[in-house]
């Protein structure tokens, strides 16, 4: 199977990789670029653990082919904290509210929540729950996640 050369930007850095056309963007991030923060929970678009931004749009990276990333901007969980290691307010609030247990869903939920707050800095609880309906968590029961997102939103509004 001949591989295809792909050039893209990931978290602001130019990257290149060789992709089998059947490989998903998630496979390419994890296996070719060593960015293992994005997780595969289902591989069928149901769980959101693989959430990334593709040209600014929230998508499941398991439902995008690696070859489709050619020329595109990809943002993953690895780009969320400051380069110096300072956590994003969402990350801090997730820890504060204990909004994670096993942590498998967390990267996807953080990426999705950041995308929400970028469009809607003051979401209602209902809006948070609908926005995150495609992010499944088997551990927390969601309440702590929703509270952490609402609190981070308030924090970010205060800081602005």
């Amino acid at each position: 199977m001949s591989k295809i050369h792909v050039s893209a930007t990931v978290n602001g850095d130019p990257v290149e990789f060789l992709a089998d056309p059947r490989e998903t963007l998630l496979d390419c991030l994890r296996d070719h670029l060593d960015l293992t923060g994005s997780k595969e929970g289902c591989g069928t678009g149901d769980c959101g653990a693989c959430s990334v931004l593709l040209d600014g749009r929230l998508v499941c990276s398991c439902l995008v082919l690696g070859v489709e990333a050619e020329g595109k901007r990809v943002e993953t969980i690895e780009g969320m904290a400051e380069p110096g290691g300072e956590l994003h307010p969402l990350q801090r609030k997730f820890i504060e509210h204990a909004a994670l247990q096993c942590g498998f869903c967390t990267p996807g939920i953080l990426v999705a929540s950041k995308a929400l707050l970028a469009r809607n800095p003051d979401p209602t609880e209902e809006e948070v729950r609908y926005w995150l309906a495609g992010n499944l968590c088997r551990c927390t029961g969601y309440d702590k996640i929703v509270r952490a997102v609402m609190d981070a939103a308030a924090d970010l509004r205060g800081a602005a």
Partner: protein, 288 residues
């Protein structure tokens, strides 16, 4: 699997027409990739349509309708104030497809061509009298949307044929449309029944209507008897009951884990009533 990135519709049609094995077009990939990953369908040739010029555009037609490119995602459609103002029912149907993440990718044309009887955007398109431009080895033709799906997973598109755009007609004055589905939860599920109604008024009276049902037959169906039950009325109780009866009579669903045939038939009537009322309110200027 060979991955092709077509630069024009005629190139896409040419590649598809010359491909010997299983061919799929790649729009948002939310059906294609799931089928690929599950081993259900591994295409020999996969033809990506997203680099073709114009496929991301939504533009006004000379008649005052909308032409929607085949790579426009549900999220982009939902953000388009013009289409939303004219055809809120079409937009809300597409908006029910999947999660925020799926909305970032899924397209109207993919929803139509995947051929699911429960496809959420299709009843709205059928009720709106949308048409698609089909391009193939023998040139282009315009086809009403309801003629595309022919059964679960099947379409009337011939070898090498694909959809180049979806066109919604001009809304016109005093018109409204709506779509609702029944699912046991509030998000992320497949319609047990879906219903779309599109109507126009003269004063209080319904002058014209189209009613479409999803998930109660092998394809989304247009139900002229249901439309006839409300045309000429002001959607009074008698008209609503006649509409519900016509919707139930048109339903020929299967029983599966999502619902029995009897339940689906009943819900078809309930939804037809509710959706007609929503479309009627919109036609009278309610902007919800």
């Amino acid at each position: 699997m060979r991955y092709h990135c077509a630069k024009s519709f005629s190139e896409a049609a040419e590649i598809a027409a010359g491909a010997p094995g299983i061919t799929r077009f790649l729009a948002g990939g939310t059906d294609v990739l799931v089928q690929l990953r599950s081993g259900l369908v591994t295409p020999d040739d996969l033809i990506d349509l997203k680099q073709i010029p114009g496929v991301h555009d939504i533009s006004r037609t000379p008649e005052g309708g909308w032409r929607i490119g085949v790579a426009v995602s549900g999220a982009e459609l939902g953000e388009h104030a013009g289409v939303k103002a004219d055809w809120p029912g079409v937009v809300e149907g597409m908006g029910l497809v999947g999660s925020t993440q799926v909305q970032g990718r899924a397209t109207l044309a993919g929803n139509l061509c995947n051929g699911s009887p429960a496809a959420d955007s299709v009843p709205g398109l059928v009720a709106a009298e949308a048409r698609v431009t089909v391009i193939g080895p023998n040139g282009a033709r315009e086809v009403p949307v309801e003629e595309i799906p022919t059964g679960p997973g099947k379409t009337s598109l011939g070898p090498g044929e694909l959809i180049a755009a979806i066109t919604l007609p001009a809304r016109g004055a005093a018109g409204g449309d709506a779509y609702q589905r029944f699912i046991p939860r509030t998000e992320m599920d497949i319609a047990v029944v879906g219903c779309a109604v599109n109507l126009t008024l003269t004063g209080e009276t319904i002058a014209a209507a189209r009613v479409a049902l999803g998930a109660v037959a092998p394809t989304v169906i247009l139900v002229p008897e249901a439309a006839a039950a409300i045309v000429g009325t002001a959607l009074d109780d008698a008209a609503l009951e006649a509409l519900a009866a016509a919707a139930r009579a048109a339903a020929s669903p299967i029983s599966d884990k999502r619902g029995t045939a009897e339940f689906r038939t009943h819900v078809a009537g309930v939804l037809a009533r509710r959706v007609a009322q929503a479309a009627y309110a919109r036609a009278k200027g309610d902007t919800k």
